[in-house]
């Protein structure tokens, strides 16, 4: 009937009100800026009439702004690095943070568990610049801790910042060190939400701890694992700029293993500041991310309808 919309609106007033801040936030910072993607197809020039006027009246250049991402040798390197690192981060991050969450949940001494949790949480709040200096204090050629230890065992000092061999491992290690404390909280929360009577029943049936984890905890964690992984897949073309720029100290000799899409775009455009080209890079990353999320969600839905995001 005519007033059905308003009636429903009225009935759900409170709930809608609770959604409002989030909706406004998304509208402001995610939907409105979408219009700005026009800039990816423009050679942006300033005018005295403000941003929108400039945007509309700048010259159309079609796909030219995207070319710099594809037509060099570097294109392969940066795409490969971005993808492989992110796959490693998603996979290892998942294994370690779920493992950590299970371990924490099994600790009997809850005070100790809180202490562990907090200390593993702490690195998440450090900026990459500071983490970069932490790494430097280990890897510095003449004053680094690692070279001192190597020297103790009679091994020659390593030029860490000019030898790419170990950097894939270093970067993955640093990333995990910084992030798993945070991501394990999500899993820990859902583990704590699992009905304890399931475990009690299992124990009465004589299930060992490992069996409990395998048959109760993991299956019940599956939906949240899938959601978290799907969300991460959507960001697979975005590299963590701070990690790849600050931790290797922007050392040129390491670029073969540290240059990712974000650092490439930054280095290429920091002097010219072409808004069109950086918008193009961002658009490319989002579109690929969007496609990947849709595809993987489709795959998940085919296998297990209940676990899919939508």
């Amino acid at each position: 009937m005519a007033g059905s919309f308003f009636r429903r609106f009225n009935r759900n007033k409170v709930l809608l009100l609770m959604v409002l801040p989030g909706a406004v936030w998304f509208l402001c910072f995610s939907y409105l800026p979408l219009v700005g993607t026009i800039a990816a197809f423009k050679e942006y020039r300033f005018s005295r009439h403000g941003f929108w006027y400039s945007l509309v009246h700048s010259k159309n250049v079609g796909w030219d702004n995207f070319k710099f991402l594809f037509n060099t040798d570097a294109a392969f390197t940066i795409t490969r690095n971005t993808l492989l690192y992110n796959i490693a981060f998603i996979f290892l991050g998942l294994v370690f943070s779920v493992g950590l969450a299970i371990l924490l949940s099994e600790l009997v001494n809850k005070k100790l568990a809180k202490l562990y949790q907090t200390s593993m949480f702490l690195p998440y709040f450090l900026s990459w610049v500071i983490v970069g200096y932490f790494a430097f204090s280990f890897l510095s050629m003449d004053r680094g801790l690692l070279n001192h230890i190597l020297g103790y065992f009679g091994v020659d000092s390593m030029q860490w910042y000019s030898d790419p061999t170990y950097w894939p491992y270093i970067l993955i290690f640093v990333y995990l060190w910084k992030s798993i404390g945070y991501s394990s909280v999500v899993y820990l929360a859902s583990i704590l939400g699992i009905d304890r009577s399931l475990y009690e029943a299992a124990m009465i049936d004589g299930a060992s701890k490992l069996q409990q984890v395998r048959n109760i905890t993991l299956p019940l964690l599956k939906p949240i694992i899938i959601i978290m992984t799907l969300l991460a897949v959507g960001k697979i073309f975005y590299a963590d700029f701070g990690l790849f720029y600050n931790v290797p100290r922007d050392s040129g000799t390491l670029y073969s293993v540290t240059n990712v899409i974000d650092t490439y775009v930054y280095r290429g455009l920091k002097t010219t500041g072409e808004i069109g080209m950086s918008t193009a890079a961002g658009l490319y990353q989002s579109v690929v991310g969007f496609v990947l999320v849709m595809v993987s969600n489709y795959v998940v839905r085919r296998i297990d309808k209940d676990s899919a995001l939508f």
Binding site: R45, R48, F68
Partner: protein, 493 residues
């Protein structure tokens, strides 16, 4: 019927929400006051001035005082907004792109690039305004500045009158020079440093003989088309050919020397990733490094380090685009009051009272006069500690305690002795090769610091770098630059 209404209701709700949001995050732009210049009973115009430097506590207090003065003189008041060194480039990029109201802004070859942004239309073209309201500027400032800062034949900003040429010097830590009685008189080339470096390396193993950070580039007699990019033209002007600096014999031999020094341990092992050498200068554990100088710079350095520093020249004094564009004040393209802004810039560059107020603050609060020329900072000056170079004509400034009376005459002499680079006034427009420039820039970042600091062996890395540059499209960039340069040479014959 009901469906239609439902939809209409939804649309209405959506529109309302959208407009609420729009006004919420958009801010209100409709406060623009009436423009037009004039004086007398008219309401004073407020000029918004963006400049570089750590925001100072007393900026508003001082600007209130400045405004009293400017209101009397040109019927305008000043609102200064400072943006910190590290943020300036990025924040200005956003502020200008989004059309934030502003009248005057700082720009330079290094921070919020002058040429690029002039070409993108960020600044107002000043030719006419300069003729009309900027006569004082034309009379005071070294003409080299105004002609050298033209972009495609037009002025887009007023350079600060200060040291004009670029002169590279070797700086020496005099304590060590005296201790080992090193002879610095014959020093000029990179090669001539070797005996000194060797002595210090042997006798003072704790000292870094040759201090440098990742931005170090050995001096070669070429002028770069774009700062920090490898395209360059020979300084003697003999051929006007754009080359990749890495392919020149001069750079090749310089890099070999650098690598020799690096392997000998004269250079810090992490030089290629070191952002600053301030730990060396603070501790005094360095023998020499290279820097750009200006008259009386030794005094400044000695005073700030707390021990004597001496210098010998490492190059000729050359007037380049970079040196001319070291500090420029432009009028924003979206300025509501361009005439007033020009009047203000003219006053700032010619009126010692205004210029010193902007620089040192309020007399009696931030500084006091010792005599006619010299001033002494008071304790409150730490709440108004401004970078002098970015705020207009330097040669109007009071002298600090201990400066010789003829400081600015020394500057004028220094400026008069500078030789112009053959490409002074030519600004490469990279728009046509933007794609290649991005790739070239990345290759440069990859190889530059490790080659220049001698960290890697040029025998293997130099050919590799040159090859990578070629693959990135260097030849196309150079060809484009060459054709622009040829056209410029033809036009300026």
């Amino acid at each position: 019927m009901s469906k239609l209404k439902k939809r209409a209701g939804l649309a209405l709700a959506a529109t309302t929400a959208l407009s609420v949001v729009l006004s919420g995050c958009g801010g209100n732009n409709n406060e623009a006051s009436g423009s037009g210049s004039g004086s007398g009973s008219e309401k004073p115009v407020e000029l918004i001035w963006y400049t570089i430097g750590t925001p100072q506590k007393d900026v508003d207090t001082v600007m209130a005082e400045v405004s009293k003065y400017t209101q009397e003189k040109i019927n305008a008041t000043i609102k200064m907004k400072m943006i910190d060194w590290g943020d300036y480039q990025q924040k200005m990029q956003v502020l200008v792109a989004s059309g934030e109201p502003m009248d005057i802004l700082f720009t330079s070859a290094g921070g919020f690039d002058y040429v690029q942004n002039a070409r993108k239309g960020a600044f107002l073209e000043l030719d006419e305004l300069l003729d009309k309201y900027g006569q004082g500027i034309k009379d005071t400032i070294d003409p080299g500045f105004l002609s050298g800062s033209k972009v495609d034949g037009h002025n887009y900003g007023i350079p600060a009158n200060k040291e004009l040429p670029q002169l590279e010097v070797w700086r020496f830590n005099k304590n060590l020079v005296d201790k080992y009685q090193l002879d610095t008189s014959g020093i000029r080339t990179l090669e001539s440093l070797e005996p000194l470096l060797k002595t210090i390396k042997e006798k003072e193993p704790e000292v870094t003989p040759f201090g440098m950070d990742k931005n170090f580039v050995p001096y070669v007699p070429y002028d770069y088309l774009v700062t920090n990019m490898p395209m360059a033209v020979k300084l003697d002007g003999s051929d006007m050919k754009v080359v990749n600096i890495l392919e020149t014999d001069e750079m090749k031999s310089a890099l070999e020397t650098m690598h020799k020094y690096y392997m000998a341990g004269y250079i810090a092992p992490e030089a290629a990733t070191t952002g600053s050498t301030s730990d060396l200068t603070t501790s005094g554990k360095w023998l020499l490094d290279r820097a750009q100088t200006q008259p009386l710079a030794e005094n400044l350095w000695s005073a700030s380090y707390g021990y004597p520093v001496t210098t010998t020249p490492a190059s000729d004094a050359i007037i380049t685009n970079t040196s001319v564009q070291g500090s420029i004040m432009a009028i924003s393209a979206n300025s509501e009051h361009p005439e007033k802004a020009m009047e203000f810039l003219n006053l700032l560059n010619t009126d010692p009272v205004l210029r010193n107020m902007v620089d040192s603050g309020i007399e009696g609060t931030h500084y006091e006069k010792i005599d006619d020329l010299h001033i002494k900072n008071l304790d409150a000056s730490q709440n108004y500690n401004m970078p002098s170079y970015s705020l207009g004509n330097n040669m109007l400034l009071y002298l600090n305690e201990g400066d010789p009376d003829d400081k600015w005459d020394q500057f004028k002499k220094f400026n008069a002795e500078g030789k112009a680079s053959p490409i002074l006034g030519f600004n490469f427009d990279s728009t046509k090769v933007a794609t290649e420039m991005t790739a070239v820039q990345n290759v440069k970042e990859q190889f530059w610091a490790s080659l220049m600091t001698g960290t890697v062996d040029p025998a293997t890395f130099l050919p590799k770098a040159i090859d990578e540059f070629k693959k990135a499209g260097m030849d196309k960039v150079i060809a484009e630059a060459q054709s622009q340069l040829d056209a410029w040479v033809a036009a300026n014959k």
